[in-house]
Amino acid sequence: MQEVLKQNIVEKRILAPRDSRKTIGNINVPNPRMVCRNVNVYYGDKQAIRNVSIDIGCNEVLAMIGPSGCGKSTFLRCLNRMNDTIDSCRVTGEILFDGRDIYDPSVDVVPLRAQVGMVFQKPNPFPKSIYENVAWAPKIHGIVESKSDTDEIVESSLQKAGLWEEVKDRLDQPGTGLSGGQQQRLCIARAIAVSPEVILMDEPCSALDPIATAKIEDLIEELRAQYTIAIVTHSMQQASRVSQRTAFFHLGDLIEVGTTETIFTKPSHQLTEDYITGRYG
């Protein structure tokens, strides 16, 4: 069946050749939350990202796919300047968040990261209690004043992360004692506790079993109503399940952007087609 479908597609469309490195597809969205233009990233002398331009719209899930080492994680980490922690890393180009260039020297990275939260590949809860894991960030940002405020934020964040029912009776237990899937949802709760506008997810399910993965995917779908989400994933099924738009990266270039449906059914670039049909990757 798939074979037949693919042949039909190939017959109908003319694909961009494999060696074309220009981004295909519409990078713009009507209501962008983040706007990236000509972003280049270097690690020392090595260029990891070349001239990437893309918009990330409000309340959408943007999936970034591509073979290992294609720079999708690097690009994701540019969006909240997590790359600052790597000494040799240098970023050029423009990344606008609500109209301001986040790499402008006047921008303070601390509030930026509170607004652009991040969830990592491996769950990394702090070695503190479940309660403290969620309450810590609101406390250091001065969002909460009283104990009852904190309780409220902890409860609502855990509820949004779909973890409340499982942990409400053991909030004082260490967060590291939870299962992998629970830890990852705790990390999501931690990220949304400071009410960010964007949540970046770097392969959030790659260390989880299918059931935990399904829970996180449902969660992403729910969170979309309130947040903008950019997710890096190796699983094309996951990308097609959770995202509205998909960006395909290859060796530091953004090859193709489009609605998820288009990318997975009618890709316009030979490389995209090869990747999603599993010819390499």
Binding site: M82, T85, F126, R190, V194
Partner: protein, 462 residues
């Protein structure tokens, strides 16, 4: 054959056993069709042969070594004439000691009689026979072990498991050596301390407020009344250690945080070894520094603002000691802070924590066990330090909390007591062991408390 030569021979035999065992295993493997037919790799058969070759023989050797003296002496005494054997035990013992000294060519307590000369010759002869018997037994045991195992080498022999068991036994032995040494140290101190407490009551020692460890040598001696109240001495130790820790803990921790989180790699590569050099400076040199530079400086500045500072002060010793132990705190803390996974830093930064918040709330709590370990090491160095105190804080046992006065510490007192010219069983000398015992118990409790604290507050990140 001398014991050294014997052990060397045993080693050679073991190496030979290794190759013989391996050779046979390889042969068997070839016949059976490949090394996979053997239970273990051929090297394990070799190792097992070598172990069989050396371990039983080595134990025989140790056993003989343990009993050699008794057996040889017994035989020698049995051959002494009746008149000598019927001497009272103390005299007989002296005679035996003299004969042994004569045999090994040392000085003898009295006149050398023909009887002793004869006995000594006999003793040497017996020793020679004993050595020869040992050599024969050990070598026979070794070869027998090798042959026994060689005969047992079959493809089914679980050589690897046997070797692993022996290795595990070795590891157990190694790990218990430290424990037994500790027990031995405690017992030896305890024995002498009990002798001391027979002469000076425990309560007087523990709660007495005056330390003046003098004992009358003659009846009519002036100033002969001794006082063995250890409180001033321990107070001095606590005072100086506290000053040292007040210097070392914050500076060490801060420098560790700077090195691990703020300094760039090149600076760290230079600064860390430089800091560790501090730990390598001999304490005598620190003592010079404390006595010649720091103490006069403190005295001078004290005089300027109208405070009377004695020329040897706890402050001078404590400050310099604090500098000395900075590397213990900083180097260990730096290592453990560095060992906290990057993912925790990422997690903290990703919710918008500043560097300082990340360090204070995430990294230091996660690294707490190691940091406390470093602090403990520093405290024990401070408590055990002698040289700086002797040179900079003096010897007078004042009971004071004023850091500007001269004080003394437990270790300093132990040294002064033991280098004294009194006989060993006088309370003055024995007091050193009592001090040592209390110090040991004190540091033991310190360790236990610290471990409990760490267990309670540690944050696991695994």
């Amino acid at each position: 054959m001398s014991p050294f030569l014997l052990l060397l021979l045993l080693l050679v035999l073991s190496v030979a056993g290794y190759f013989i065992g391996q050779y046979k295993a390889l042969n068997l493997a070839r016949k059976a069709g490949g090394a996979s037919r053997l239970h273990s790799l051929p090297v394990y058969y070799g190792m097992l042969t070598a172990l069989w070759c050396c371990l039983p023989a080595f134990f025989m050797f140790l056993i003989w070594l343990g009993f050699e003296q008794t057996i040889v002496t017994g035989l020698m005494v049995a051959d002494l004439p009746e008149t000598a054997r019927s001497l009272p035990p103390a005299r007989l013992n002296l005679l035996i000691k003299d004969i042994q000294s004569l045999a090994s060519g040392n000085i003898v307590s009295g006149e050398i009689t023909p009887l002793m000369r004869q006995a000594a010759a006999h003793y040497v002869e017996l020793q020679g026979i004993g050595k020869m018997i040992t050599s024969v037994i050990v070598l026979v045991a070794s070869v027998a072990g090798m042959l026994t195992l060689h005969r047992h080498i079959r493809p089914e022999l679980r050589a690897r498991n046997h070797v692993e068991k022996v290795v595990m036994g070795l590891l157990v032995v190694c790990s218990t050596i430290a424990i037994f040494t500790t027990i031995g140290i405690v017992l030896s101190i305890l024995y002498e301390a009990v002798r001391f407490f027979r002469q000076v009551p425990v309560t007087e020692f523990l709660f007495g407020l005056e330390w003046s460890p003098q004992m009358a040598i003659r009846e009519d001696q002036v100033g002969s009344s001794g006082a063995f109240g250890a409180v001033p001495v321990f107070a001095g130790t606590i005072l100086i250690s506290a000053i040292a820790m007040l210097v070392a803990a914050p500076i060490g921790l801060m420098s560790a945080i700077f090195l691990s989180e703020y300094a760039d790699k090149r600076l760290r590569a230079v600064a860390k070894p430089m800091l560790e050099i501090l730990a390598g400076v001999p304490t005598v040199v620190y003592g010079f520094f404390a006595a010649l530079v720091v103490a006069p400086m403190i005295r001078g500045s004290g005089a300027q603002i109208g405070i009377d500072v004695s020329s040897e002060s706890a402050l001078a010793a404590g400050l310099v000691m604090g500098v000395m132990i900075i590397p213990f705190v900083s180097s260990l803390s730096d290592d453990v802070i560095n060992a906290v996974p990057q993912s925790l830093r990422d997690g903290a930064y990703s919710v918008g924590a500043t560097r300082s918040e990340t360090i204070r709330h995430v990294l230091v709590p996660a690294a707490l066990p190691g940091i406390v370990g470093g602090l403990l090491l520093a405290v024990s160095r401070a408590i055990g330090e002698t040289m700086i105190v002797v040179m900079a804080a003096g010897l007078s046992a004042n009971l004071t909390a004023n850091p500007l006065q001269a004080v003394t510490t437990v270790t300093v007192q132990i040294v002064t007591l033991l280098v004294g010219d009194q006989e060993f069983d006088s309370p003055k000398t024995l007091a050193a062991f009592a001090l040592g015992l209390v110090l040991f118990i004190g540091t033991l409790f310190l360790n236990i408390i610290a471990l409990t604290v760490v267990r309670k507050y540690r944050e696991r990140y695994e």
